[in-house]
């Protein structure tokens, strides 16, 4: 893992002192509330529905056990004993006091962490494939690039006051687990025909009220050209992006309004100049960063214990089926720890759970952890012989739910329970769906099915790319849930299709149950996933399931009167 250089340490410490002063200058009136706002946002501090919220970056989703323990300690010391892992590889504390925030930032700096640029109209936390450095299908580890981008984007003088926020994600595998095509810039590491390293660069993806799949702006960008090229994209965006309407300010709209070809030409034009600004210092840095991401010191041992437990314990077998992913070392597995226990808040972890996970990472996981945009935790390197022990330890603290990738592994935004933008609840909906699906005992039979829920049009819950997407809106003071079907956030990304009119909270769960039932009836066989069935047959049977008798819900209500 990358460790902070003296420079990184000095920078982060200085930044905390600076923020401490900014808080004081807000209080003494040097800064107006309006002036203070972007400064606090760029240090991760939001004003939410009930209180301040502090969003802490977990750059490219990588954590050590020491860092995880510190997150647990912060949750106990300054919050309510838990944290919420988000869809952008951050952790949020929902109840900090403004006066405590500089102390929290100090505690983060002690373990080489920060909350810098987790909000504001700047380049946000760089996210990456959560199986980075471990997945069997990985071509190249995306984390060194992500760390280089972290350093480059941190406090960038030109790009701290952009038209709108700017998100970059990177993957190094053909299977896209980082939703790169729904980011402002998506990068895919690859090799060209002569074996040189480079990136496919996608620009203008994003969800929100105008969802767009990103477009390829450069098919192969040589590795050494990354920073000047990304800088050129941001220059074009900073100058051209709309500032008259915040809902039209993201780069996806800039690309949409000007066309990808115009944007590409402008970027290439800028790039000719920008390229001369980088004379190799960045590549030297990348080289040093790469050297920090070494492979773990693999254990050579028999995997017999794993096989024995697998044949003797049914619950362990269920866990293995869903929560394990192939590791590049065949004696190892990637273990996903579901933060989606049926009926619990998706993405929440208590301080006790965080400590258990930290201990397991230290004891059995080469001291490494990851957090995923799907709001789960990951032990990326576990020798198979140790997986039974890890499983039983997780089970004791309610962390062994065998549902990764299944219908109850739901992404949900905080919704009306916390967020001031929300128009409907999402957490209770996720809890109800998960509880019901658990009662039906069908989810292992249903197989891979991603439900994603957003409590407002801003789409933090990624509903557009859910196999089933749920968008909670407010219709004259009543919560109303719109359904999309067929979304996909992977390398075959597509936006879900609107099924029809929204449903009331009471209609929603039975309707989803009917959709799932329909899938089970019409799939070719168990190997055809929900998404595949939908793409083969289309909306019609699912529409009938959602709106039986061919009636729209509003008309049915009238009929009932």
């Amino acid at each position: 893992m990358y460790r902070y250089s003296e420079f990184d340490k000095d920078f982060v410490n200085h930044r905390v002192r600076q923020f401490r002063q900014q808080v004081e200058r807000r209080i003494d009136g040097s800064l107006t509330e309006d002036e203070f706002k972007p400064l606090r946002l760029m240090n991760g501090l939001y004003l939410q529905l009930h209180a301040y919220m502090l969003r802490v970056a977990i750059p490219y989703g990588t954590l050590s056990s020491r860092q995880m323990r510190q997150l647990a300690w912060i949750a106990d010391r300054w919050d309510k004993g838990y944290g919420h892992f988000t869809t952008r590889q951050n952790i949020q504390y929902n109840w900090p006091k403004l006066r405590d925030v500089p102390d929290i930032l100090d505690a983060l700096a002690d373990v080489e962490m920060h909350a810098i640029q987790t909000s504001g109209n700047c380049v946000r936390n760089i996210t990456a494939d959560h199986f980075a450095g471990a997945a069997a299908d990985e071509i190249l580890d995306p984390r060194p690039t992500a760390e280089l981008l972290r350093q480059w984007s941190t406090d960038h003088p030109e790009f701290a006051y952009l038209p709108r926020k700017f998100k970059i994600a990177i993957t190094g595998s053909p299977a896209d687990r980082a939703v790169t095509k729904a980011h402002d810039i998506g990068l895919r590491l690859l090799r060209n025909e002569v074996g040189e390293i480079g990136y496919e660069v996608v620009v203008g993806g994003g969800l929100g009220r105008t969802p767009m799949i990103g477009k390829v702006i450069r098919e192969f960008l040589p590795e050494q050209d990354l920073l000047p090229y990304v800088e050129s994209i941001l220059q074009v965006y900073n100058a051209l992006g709309r500032r008259d309407n915040k809902y039209k300010a993201r780069v996806k709209i800039t690309v949409h309004e000007h066309g990808i070809d115009t944007i590409r030409n402008l970027v290439e034009e800028r790039f000719k100049v920008q390229r001369k600004q980088f004379g190799g210092a960045d590549q030297q840095m990348l080289c040093e960063i790469k050297a920090a991401f070494t492979e773990p010191n693999y254990i050579n041992a028999s995997t017999e214990a794993f096989n024995l437990t697998l044949s003797s314990d049914l619950t362990f077998r269920a866990f293995v089926e869903t929560n394990l992913h192939p590791h590049k070392n065949p004696d190892y597995s990637i273990v996903t720890i579901s933060l989606k226990a049926h009926g619990e808040t998706p993405g929440d972890a208590t301080s006790q759970q965080m400590r258990v996970v930290a201990n397991l990472a230290e004891q059995f996981g080469h001291d490494e952890l990851r957090v995923s945009h799907e709001q789960n935790l990951i032990l990326p390197h576990v020798h198979k012989k140790d997986i039974p022990e890890v499983y039983f330890a997780l089970r004791k603290v309610g962390l062994a739910t065998a549902n990764v990738g299944l219908v109850s592994d739901i992404i949900a935004c905080p919704g009306m329970d916390y967020c001031s933008l929300a128009t409907a609840r999402s957490i209770p909906i996720a809890q109800q769906i998960a509880t019901r699906m658990d009662e039906l005992k069908l989810e292992h039979d249903i197989g891979p099915l991603k439900i994603k829920i957003s409590g407002c049009i801003n789409a933090c819950g990624h509903h557009h790319v859910g196999h089933i997407g749920i968008l909670g809106l407010d219709r004259a003071g009543v919560e109303n849930y719109q359904i999309t079907i067929g979304g996909d956030g992977t390398e075959t990304a597509r936006l879900g299709d609107r099924a029809g009119p929204g449903l009331s909270v009471d209609e929603l769960i039975p309707a989803l149950e009917r959709v799932v039932d329909t899938y089970l009836q019409i799939r070719k066989d168990k190997s055809e996933t929900f998404l595949e069935t939908y793409l083969r047959i289309g909306m019609e049977p699912f529409k009938e399931a959602l709106y039986p008798e061919g009636n729209r819900p509003t008309r049915r209500r009238h009929a009932a009167l």
């Binding site: 200058r25 030109e158 500032r243 004379g279 960045d282």
Partner: protein, 142 residues
């Protein structure tokens, strides 16, 4: 009234001659040593042919969250502009380092802001150069 902020601290504007509005400038017949107010939406290339004749360029910051001026300043420096470059408007003490790093020499603020954010709050002298990731990743751009 306005205050000029540069690395030496606060001062009054020492620029005597009139600053011309960009809309009144004829780029084919320009007087050497001229000062120009340009909009922050200007394409930097539009100034390319006259950059060696201009002595001062002033770029507006209508609000502290409008960062277009940072990119424009940097583009002008990359195109070879060597004259004085001034940011004018709503620039906070907290943004001075960014302005300097993008190539501005100085910042012009209204006296009300200068009163609220006195000289001691600005990272003047060499302070704005400290702890700059960009410095580590690239050659100097100016």
């Amino acid at each position: 009234m306005t205050t000029i902020v540069n690395d030496n601290g606060f001062s009054l504007d020492d620029w005597g001659p009139e600053i011309l509005d960009w809309s009144s400038v004829d780029t084919s017949a320009i007087d050497p040593g001229v000062a120009i107010d340009v909009p922050n939406t200007l394409e930097s290339e539009d100034l390319a042919s006259i950059l060696d004749q201009v002595a001062l360029i002033r770029i507006p910051f209508p609000t502290h969250v409008d960062g277009r001026g940072f990119t424009l300043a940097r583009r002008l420096r990359l195109l070879g502009y060597k004259g004085r470059l001034r940011a004018f408007g709503h620039i906070l003490a907290d943004q001075y380092a960014k302005a300097r790093r993008c190539g501005f020499d100085e910042v012009e603020i209204h006296d009300e802001l200068a009163k609220r954010q006195p000289e001691s709050q600005w990272s003047l002298g060499d302070d704005w150069r400290r702890l700059d990731y960009q410095e580590r990743l690239r050659h100097q751009w100016c």
